[in-house]
Symmetry: C2
Amino acid sequence: MDLRHLRYFVMVAEEGHITRAAERLGIQQPPLSRQISQMERELKVQLFRRLPRGVSLTSAGQAFFSEAKAILSRLDHAVETAQRTARGEQGTLCIGIAPTAPFNPLVPLAIRSFRETFPRVSLILQEGLSNEIVGQFEREQMDVAFVRARQIHAEGVSVAALQEEPLVAALPSRHTLARTRTKPLQLRSLSSDSFIMIGPPGTGLYDETVAACRAAGFVPRLGQPAPRITSTLGLVAAGLGIALVPSTLQGARMTGVVYRRLQDPTPKAFLGLAWRRSNPSPILRNFLGLVRGMAERRAPEHHRAAKTANDDRSRT
Amino acid sequence: MDLRHLRYFVMVAEEGHITRAAERLGIQQPPLSRQISQMERELKVQLFRRLPRGVSLTSAGQAFFSEAKAILSRLDHAVETAQRTARGEQGTLCIGIAPTAPFNPLVPLAIRSFRETFPRVSLILQEGLSNEIVGQFEREQMDVAFVRARQIHAEGVSVAALQEEPLVAALPSRHTLARTRTKPLQLRSLSSDSFIMIGPPGTGLYDETVAACRAAGFVPRLGQPAPRITSTLGLVAAGLGIALVPSTLQGARMTGVVYRRLQDPTPKAFLGLAWRRSNPSPILRNFLGLVRGMAERRAPEHHRAAKTANDDRSRT
DNA sequence: TCCATGCCATACCTCAAAGGTATCAAGATC
DNA sequence: GATCTTGATACCTTTGAGGTATGGCATGGA
């Protein structure tokens, strides 16, 4: 049997009239007549009763009719779903988010904008540090991630720069340098403090912090490591050390913590978008396009220069 | 698009290999290749990625794949449903039942046997007197009914006789004639009693009772009319009158009611099956066949003679 | 580097079957 | 009984599905 048969059958059933159904189908009556009786022979079921005027469904025909209509509409639906999926408008996208990323307004803005543009895509948001995200990319459990690391050490994963934001020092409010809030701080002046790090070496902020201190001429003394950004600030507030954090973190006010800008050359925190280049998901393409477009609009002059990837063939 | 396309697509998706899929489909590789790409062109969606070895579904292809499989299996299901419906094995049958009919074992036996033989047919059982059933037949709300009336006064409704059972007298236990339980009673001897009737004139038992009394040489005095058989027996037990009831009613023992057989010529209660001759439902055919076969097996000698209908063209 | 292999795509041919035209047959209608 | 309506049948045309032969591309081993 053929979909044509189903379509013809449904039309005849709805019209109750082969000639009229043929007209609406844009064919002649005899072929339609033949298709119907052929279908009946194939199913070994009489679908219509031939009346003096027109035809009417038998009970078997009625049963088949409702199924046939459902099948046809389901097919239409399937086609639309496939097309939407191909256009990246439907499906699932798994987004990794570095713990400090959501403080940068670009991240929530991008996600909200994507949701609005592609309402049929369901997003799975997953917090994770760069090193945790590596594994997820390799297991193909993640499509894209907002990261703080300039490179992700996994085969075929690119990182596109979105923004560079200044690092600021988070100090306990009783710290001697916490008084003069307006003047930028010399990073050197923190060389004897303990640095509270988020996550192990290899993650974005860890590496940026160490690099910044090196550039300022000292090796940071490592304090208590903290698993999450909130606990980092908690430890700072408790006076257990200081931390360098992206400036947007200042949005997270915490009693007992004071933020101080740093003097030139201001160390920078990186915010980037990582994805597997071989991932063909059209949803991913849409997401990359939207987020990168957004980042360019917000900082067009930085973008080109900062754009990078973990290997030379950085075209998506 | 065609069902063939769907089937081919599913096979290729399952094999991940056009050549192998073609083999399993019993066709050559080139036509299959063409059908697939034709389908992709028609849907304007790339369903497969061509790999060096074989093909793999794109995300759109995956979305379409699960739908396609569901559609195909639903189609199979639809065909089976239609065939079962045509054979009268699936659907709905609305059965009317006269209030006194279920006491005759034939009725519950027939219904149970039908249920077991055709488990996919859902039965709607509806109690009703002959005169109520007429309207339901005319509105095509009823397919078949166990009735006590020998004729149903509705156009095109036939009644087939199933059984004739003796009428017995239901007497209050304090009735003078309730003592001698073994000897059959003269119907005449009840001529001065009030008769409790179930339902109005035109219903089966009413007419049979009046006819029996007429034959015995008197016109029955009508007592309180009763809507249901149970209330009839209640009124008898209360001493408000007597009733003639089918002998199988004796199964419904009720304190205060005594049953007495009647002397020859024993008046008879009729049990028949009514249906619209123009009703083409195959389920109805099956039901008629099963019940009539059952009745013949239980009373083969009565059946032929008693068979009747409300007009001359009594073939189904 | 080159050849063999595996696999999909393309070109061209054949033939089944879908659609078209003409006409018949059976009821309904007046 | 003539006419209309409507589905069925006969026969022809044409579309397109399937077959055969072959090309093209990537992989993998010598």
